[in-house]
Each structure stands twice: as structure tokens, then as C-alpha cells.
Symmetry: C2
Subunit: 291 residues, 2 copies
DNA sequence: CGTCTCATGTGAAGATTTGCACATGAGGTT
DNA sequence: AACCTCATGTGCAAATCTTCACATGAGACG
């Protein structure tokens, strides 16, 4: 049974009882229908139809095929309906991935978007490894750093995340706050353990002696926890810091600290209503994130 | 969704994850697979796969199609198995048609054949109208008279049904029996109301005065009932008469009374195991029907 | 870091499928 | 009884589909 179109032809013949009728429904010449039937019967070794001058009458075998193909036809019709609708509607899954740092900012956006589209299921992936759009692991990715340059990805500039140095109340009470950069050498800092390409991190290593970076973490979230706990002064996104009541901004935010963020989608999914709709919602929500 | 083969192609791609793998399974060139997918996606307006260098990954839509097509594939495989087996096995229906007269003789044959093939359902059709093999109304027909000459029918000579004149006990007690043809004019007969081409009927009209045919019927079964009831002397198949205890043969059977019977099958069904098997069984059983 | 393998993608040639024209036959109708 | 309609069936030309050949790119492996 290695030719489903012939089955479909036989189905219409069985359903309608004539080759001509099936040909019209299928939009092909009746000679084609005859050849499909002959080929199928030849491969199966069974007569599917009785041929007579008034048309084709299904044999038992033909009726058996009719029943099976009828359900197939129904199921395909349903499937086609679902799939066609899917392109234009916001349903099913929306998979978004980003660095874990952005979770506090993204969560309300994702929740709000889902609220607007009740049939949508949101999957928000954060993890150690990079989720790859080209393998279909996510619809939308939020990336930091240099503009990604994957050929099949659609990249658009997103916000620049506003960053500033913060100190917790606990730290302030014990060490005070530096008035300017010259006093950094008398303070303790929270920073990344490894050298990263993040602008704020590079700035920190240039302007603060290594020995003053006394609390070093492997990821942004732990870094945040360190600052909040008063282990030292450290960089936090402004929007993140605002969520805490016990943090004081040290100095003011500077553009050169903030890394550009990028919205990345796979080209195959970029034009779908679901992705477009989410991108519009996300950009609107992100207007307040700027420095 | 007017091209089931493209669905089948997409199914294999979704299942295997690569175009090349699907092409190998399907026995076509990988370019064909790519074009099927492109065509299907174009018609549906939905991306079914994420294309990347390591293969094709199914999107949500592709996975949806995978599920539907998987069941279709299973059902078609089952269907093919059933249909291929059907040509070689004696199962399903066997539809036999004949004149109602032959019912008493055929019934035991049909019953015996069905006993040998437990998966068989027998439909025995007798009726006023002729059931037409070319419309698939029956697999095997038993016909009387001149050899049928339908182009698509396979006709083979069957037995000549042994016929003889019979009188019931009731008649014999009241009128005695004729010693030879010369005494027919002093007896009463049961015969057909209309002139038919049946040899025994024509013989009756030639050798018996019309006024002596006092019980005239429209069909063979009523004719039989008349003879059994003692309405007069009449023709009965020998095999039928033997089933009654109260009938006496008048004279002896003559070959010229008997009409040839024909076994007719439609050419499309003639070579199937079911029909061939039944024909063999029927011929074996009919050996005792001859004059 | 270059090479090797294996995947997708595309233009042109070739093969199969399709469509067309016409023949044939069965019923129904006037 | 002749005709009209509607069905299947077949040879041949045309169109579509498939294959072939080759290009390109991403990982894997020394």
C-alpha cells in the first residue's frame, strides 16, 4: 500500500459508484481514475470493483477499502482545518527562551500575554545550554551580547537593559557607600567568577581591583542574591533591583554598562500570527525597561 | 488536503527527522521529498518543519500531522493485509443466485460448503427479477435454458436436471395412473399457465390436450405444490420428488425433458479462490443430480 | 585546523503520469 | 425503432513530476 493517492481515488469511486463522478470530484480525467484503480487492484491482487456499463460497483474488498478510506478522509479534513487555522490564530504552544536573569522581567509579560490568549500554553525555557531556534526548540529567544548571526534567524534589536550598581542596607550600614570611583578601592564588590564579555563585567574588572571583588558567582542569579544579601556592591538590572526594598543605587546607571538585547526568531516561524503577536506585546511591555 | 501522497511523504519526514531518511524509506529521490513538503506547506499555509542542516524537525503542526498520518498508515497496512489475503482465502460473503426451484437442491450444498469454511457468510438470492452478476449482485448464478451470452460472464455447462412426471397418492387413488401416452387424454395435469421455453413444458403442451391441464400455475414452486396436493400429474425434478413420500413416478425420466443448467460467474470474480472453491464443491455435489 | 561525511537545496534532463480525442456499449425516451 | 445520453476504455501527445548532477553548509574526527 505504497501509494495513498490511489487509495484516495478508489475511495471516491467506491463512494460515488462511477469513474466519471470520481474524476470530477478529484479534478482529474476519468482515464486517470481508471488507471489508478487498475494499478491498485494489480498491486493488491484483488478486484475492488465490478466494472459494468453503468459504472463501478464495489466488491466486498472495495467496500472494506471504502470504510477505511472514509475515516482517513475525515481525519485529513479535520487535520487540514486545524493546521490552516493554526497559522492565523494564537493557540497551541509558545516557547520562549532567555537567560535566567530575565525571568523576573519576562514572567509578567508572559503571564499577561497568556491571559489575552486563553488557548495558549506558554513554555519558558531557561537553562545552562543555549536552546537552538533552528532545531525548533523555541519560537522566540532573547539573547544578550553581540548581534547573533545565524543565517536562518530573524534578529531585531530589543531594549538595552538598564544596569546600575547597588548596595544592600546590610552592606551600607557596615561599610557606607563610595562617593565616586576613587573610593571603590575601599569597598567590597560582588562579581562574576569568570571573565565574561558582558560590558558591565568588563567595566568592573577595569575599575575595581580584583582583590576587592570578594564574592564571585558563576551565574547572574547567584550574583543577584549576593548583592541582596549585602556581600558587596554589585551590578543589577534596574528593573530587578526595584523589586527589592533594601537596595540603594550607587551612583547612577550608565549606558556603557548595559548590553544590547536581541529578539531572535526562526525565519520559518517569524511570520506566524502567534510569534508576531507576541513580539508586538513584548516590545510594548519592554518600553519601560530602558535605562 | 487533496494529495494524500504528500501527507505520506510528510509523515515519513516527521517520523524519521530527515529528508534523506524519508526518501530512502519511500524509495524516491530526496529532491522529491523536499518538493512534496514545500507543496504541502504551501497549500496549508503552515510550516510543518524547521529546516536545519542536520535534518527536519517537526513543528507543532508537523507533530499533529504525524499523529494523524501514523494512524492512517497503520490502518492502510491492516487494510492491505486483509485485502491481499482475501483474494486467496475463502472468507467474507458468497452470494449465489438461482431460480427458486433449485432451492431444495442447493440448500444442502450451500450449507455443506459453509460448514467447510467457518469464516464464510452465504447469501442465497432467489427472486422474481434476475440478479445481475455484472452489477456485483452475486458471485455465482445458476441459470436454466439457452446458454447465457453476456460478454463479461464466464459460462460453463452444469448438470441437466433430471425430470419426470409424478402423481400424488391422493390422485392415484381417485384416477389411477396412465399406462402410456395414449391414456394421457383421460387424466388431469398440472402445468404452467404461460407458455415457456422450458423443454418439459413444451412437451406437455404437445402431448396433452390443453383442456386436460386443469391446474395451471405461474411459477415452479406452485406447480410443485399442485402436484404434491394431487391436483394432477405434473413434472417435477427427480431430486425434488424424492423428498416427498407420497409421489409415484409416471413413466420414466427422459433426457429431452430436461433443460441444461449453466453455471455463470462474472469474469472479475471467476478466478478468485472463493468462487473457484465453491464451483468445485458444487460440481462434486451435483454429480448425483443427473438423469 | 583542515578534511570527510552527511545533510539540504536547485537547475536541467529524462521518465512517468496525465489529458485529449475518439470508440464502444447500455438504457431511456420520443 | 431510432436517437440521445452517459458510462467505460484505449492510443497518442503534452505536461508534470521525478531523477540526476552538483552546490552549499554544518558537525565529527583526527
Amino acid at each position: 500500500m505504497d501509494n495513498w493517492d490511489e487509495v484516495r481515488t478508489a475511495f471516491q469511486v467506491a463512494r460515488l459508484g462511477t469513474v466519471s463522478g470520481a474524476a470530477e470530484v478529484l479534478g482529474v480525467h476519468h482515464a486517470t481514475v481508471i488507471r489508478h484503480i487498475d494499478a491498485l487492484e494489480g498491486k493488491l491482487g484483488v478486484k475492488l470493483f465490478q466494472r459494468h456499463a453503468r459504472g463501478y460497483t464495489a466488491t466486498e474488498a472495495g467496500n472494506d477499502l471504502l470504510l477505511v478510506a472514509q475515516t482517513t478522509d475525515d481525519q485529513f479534513a479535520q487535520l487540514a482545518g486545524r493546521l490552516k487555522g493554526r497559522g492565523a490564530s494564537v493557540t497551541g504552544e509558545l516557547v520562549v527562551t532567555s537567560l535566567a536573569t530575565f525571568s523576573p522581567m519576562l514572567a509578567p509579560v508572559l503571564a499577561g500575554f497568556r491571559e489575552e490568549h486563553p488557548e495558549l500554553t506558554v513554555r519558558y525555557l531557561t537553562g545552562d545550554r543555549l536552546f537552538r531556534l533552528e532545531y525548533g526548540e523555541a519560537h522566540v529567544a532573547i539573547r544578550a551580547g553581540a548581534a547573533p548571526d545565524q543565517p536562518d534567524n530573524v534578529v531585531q534589536p530589543f531594549v538595552r537593559q538598564g544596569l546600575a550598581l547597588y548596595a544592600a542596607d546590610f552592606y551600607k550600614e557596615r561599610h557606607g557607600l563610595p562617593k565616586d570611583e576613587s573610593e571603590y578601592k575601599d569597598h567590597y564588590f560582588v562579581g562574576h567568577d569568570q571573565e565574561t564579555r558582558a560590558p558591565f563585567n568588563m567595566w568592573l574588572r577595569e575599575h575595581v581591583p580584583m582583590e576587592n571583588i570578594v564574592y564571585r558567582t558563576a551565574d547572574n542569579r547567584s550574583n543577584e542574591d549576593g548583592v541582596v544579601a549585602g556581600a558587596g556592591i554589585g551590578f543589577l538590572p534596574v528593573k530587578v533591583a526595584e523589586r527589592y526594598g533594601n537596595l540603594t543605587m550607587v551612583g547612577s546607571p550608565r549606558p556603557e554598562w548595559s548590553a544590547p538585547l536581541w529578539l531572535v526568531t526562526h525565519v520559518d516561524l517569524h511570520r506566524t500570527a502567534k510569534v508576531q503577536s507576541f513580539l508586538a506585546y513584548l516590545k510594548e511591555a519592554a518600553k519601560s525597561w530602558e535605562v
